[in-house]
């Protein structure tokens, strides 16, 4: 994938700081990244083939301004981004160059960002277009968790904190559907404890908490946790604290079962064959399977090729790939 040089990053940041209208018009709303960036202003960062998928990935652009359409785009794009970059280290996931490059250099992601946060002059309120507001969405500046408002980093970190192999994106979707929950979880110190995050996700999911109850819960939890060594606390401790501060957990057993399911790691088959099932004419290749094939195959303009079979983005399964054709009920690919 392509990553901006430090000099270019600083130059763009300065334009945004000093003249946000110019930045939005000439950079964010440019049709192609090549209109504002020259070939010597980025470098290749490609530890393996999988990273190159970022360049050809097509992200969803919310065409309406309704919150539900925006959230749907968040969910779709989070899947694509996390599936491609799920292996990066937390150190790399705090690299400003990575996130700003994805936003600015992938044309569809840039357009998603503009539409998602209403950054075009004609369709937004002034507050959203202040230089600080635009900077927060595009760049990865600051020294705390406020950096997670970056349009791309926000999606990846939400998945990193809420995705599990057993539940998939169930709780990621739950987070994207409640902005107060996302901010309350991601922008507070306790979020370094992953069991805390999981407890809050599961409890708010089962109790179907609304915005006001979510805010109240964070307030009460903070008061209690501020005198604890939170690093020592686990699921059961957090549930007990919730009960102590007045939450009635009728379905506690179900919640505990759900919490422990997070820890299970379903055994990944190490077979040297991959079975692709026919689903409405698409032989679906899950992202995990795709990664195995991409490592052994080659990238194409829309996807990848393995053993002379073309794989393209699936229209049925978000973020997965598929091959088209008629191979019966299933296609078996030898690795």
């Amino acid at each position: 994938m392509k990553v901006l040089t430090k000099r270019k990053y600083d130059e763009l940041l300065e334009i945004c700081e000093l003249n946000v209208d110019k930045f939005v018009k000439e950079i964010l709303c440019a049709e192609k990244a090549s209109h504002f960036i020259l070939p010597d202003e980025f470098v290749d960062y490609t530890p393996n083939n999988v990273f190159k998928l970022i360049e050809i990935a097509e992200f969803k652009i919310p065409v309406e301004t309704s919150q539900s359409v925006k959230e749907e785009a968040d969910r779709y794009n989070a899947r694509i981004l996390y599936k491609i970059l799920h292996e990066i280290s937390p150190f790399l996931a705090n690299d400003p160059m990575l996130w700003t490059s994805i936003i600015l250099l992938n044309d569809s992601f840039r357009e998603y960002t503009v539409q998602r946060w209403g950054l075009k002059k004609e369709d937004t309120i002034e507050e959203n277009r202040s230089s600080q507001a635009v900077m927060r969405r595009i760049f990865y500046e600051g020294s705390g968790t406020n950096t997670k408002r970056n349009s791309a980093a926000r999606l990846w970190w939400t998945c990193e904190l809420a995705y599990s192999k057993t539940d998939g994106f169930k709780f990621v979707d739950h987070l994207f559907s409640n902005n107060d929950l996302t901010i309350g979880l991601i922008e507070r110190n306790w979020a370094t404890n992953r069991e805390y995050i999981r407890t809050i996700l599961v409890v708010t999911f089962y109790l179907k908490m609304d915005t006001q109850s979510t805010r109240d819960m964070f307030k009460k939890m903070s008061a209690t946790l501020s005198v604890k060594v939170v690093e020592l606390l686990g699921y059961i401790d957090f549930l007990r604290i919730l009960e102590e501060i007045g939450y009635i957990l009728d379905n506690k057993d179900e919640i505990i079962e759900e919490l422990h399911r997070f820890d299970e790691d379903p055994t990944i088959s190490r077979s040297n064959k991959i079975e692709l099932l026919n689903w409405d004419g698409e032989y679906i290749c899950t992202f995990e399977q795709s990664i195995e094939l991409i490592k052994r195959g080659e990238l194409t303009s829309r996807g990848f090729r393995f053993n002379n079979i073309e794989f393209v983005p699936s229209k049925i399964a978000t973020g997965d790939y598929c091959c088209l054709g008629d191979f019966g009920d299933k296609l078996i690919v030898d690795l």
Binding site: F91, Q132, G142, S143, G144, T145, L161, A191, V229, E231
Partner: protein
């Protein structure tokens, strides 16, 4: 909540719990080690008793909020310890401390505490896993971050109509009056003079904000969300800059002179 602040304030003031703490950073990891460990003799008497009974414990924790990473490891008094952290899990810095905590519901009798200013304190029942105090506490910045030039957090605007500065963003913005500079050849051609006249005073103002925040107990202020603040805070901590006055601190930060010259060159390069 009553007892905790008293304990943490009192115990944090003592710096003699450990005397051979060593921190080694390699390309892959950070290793914190001590041969002698945390000294039992230095603990207040009531805590020594509780420790011996197994009511309270001691552990090292490392937290990197930017990476949502934390790790906790129990240690024993007067015992060697070694604590390793993979740098892959960290961002640019990590907060490390040694904490005292209650292992179970514990009754703490404050009558042994050497703090007379609070008068007679009652016994207090403290729930398990409660924070009692932090006895070694510091923030560690990774090597690459420590080596970063101050030019990375200062931005010069050479086209301004007036002299001024702004501190409410990630970089310190210095506005240099173009007309003034161009009027005087000796200023225009001399980076040292521009730095001394316009940049240094702003740096002193910024340094003063950081020093002021470090004097406060919780250290929070309106600027601590910005990168320049974090940078100066890191420099004070890692270089041991004088905290009694910001001018001296800035002078020490810019010594030796060749450092200042390279900063000027970098600032100029990024301003044109």
């Amino acid at each position: 909540m009553f007892p905790y602040p008293l304990i943490s304030i009192d115990y944090n003031e003592d710096t003699s719990y450990i005397d051979d703490l060593e921190l080694i950073e390699t390309d892959e990891e950070i290793c914190l080690l001590s041969k002698s460990g945390i000294k039992r003799d230095q603990l207040p008497s009531e805590l020594k008793v509780l420790y011996a009974k197994g009511d309270i414990g001691l552990g090292i924790r490392a937290v990197s909020p930017m990476s949502y990473f934390e790790i906790f490891s129990n240690i024993n008094l007067d015992s060697e310890f070694e604590f390793r952290l993979s740098k892959e899990n960290l961002s640019t810095s990590v907060h490390i401390d040694v904490v005292l905590y209650t292992k179970k519901n514990t009754n703490i009798q404050f009558r042994n505490i050497d703090v007379n200013i609070f008068g007679d304190l009652p016994d207090v029942d403290v729930p398990e896993k409660s924070f009692l105090g932090s006895i070694v506490d510091y923030k560690y910045w990774l090597y690459q971050e420590r080596q970063r030039s101050i030019a990375s957090v200062i931005k010069l605007n050479m086209e301004a109509n007036y002299y001024g500065y702004e501190l409410d963003s990630d970089k310190i913005h210095v506005f240099i009056p173009k007309n003034e500079v161009e009027k005087h050849e000796e200023i225009k051609e001399n980076g040292d003079v521009i730095f001394g006249l316009y940049v240094f005073p702003v740096l002193v103002q910024a340094m003063a904000k950081v020093i002021d925040a470090r004097r406060k107990i919780n250290g929070d202020n309106e600027y601590n969300q910005y990168k320049w603040f974090d940078y100066l805070d890191m420099k004070i901590a890692t270089l041991g800059l004088t905290e009694s006055d910001p001018i001296t601190a800035c002078r020490e930060l810019l010594e030796p002179n060749n450092v200042q010259n390279s900063i000027i060159a970098q600032l100029y390069e990024s301003s044109h």
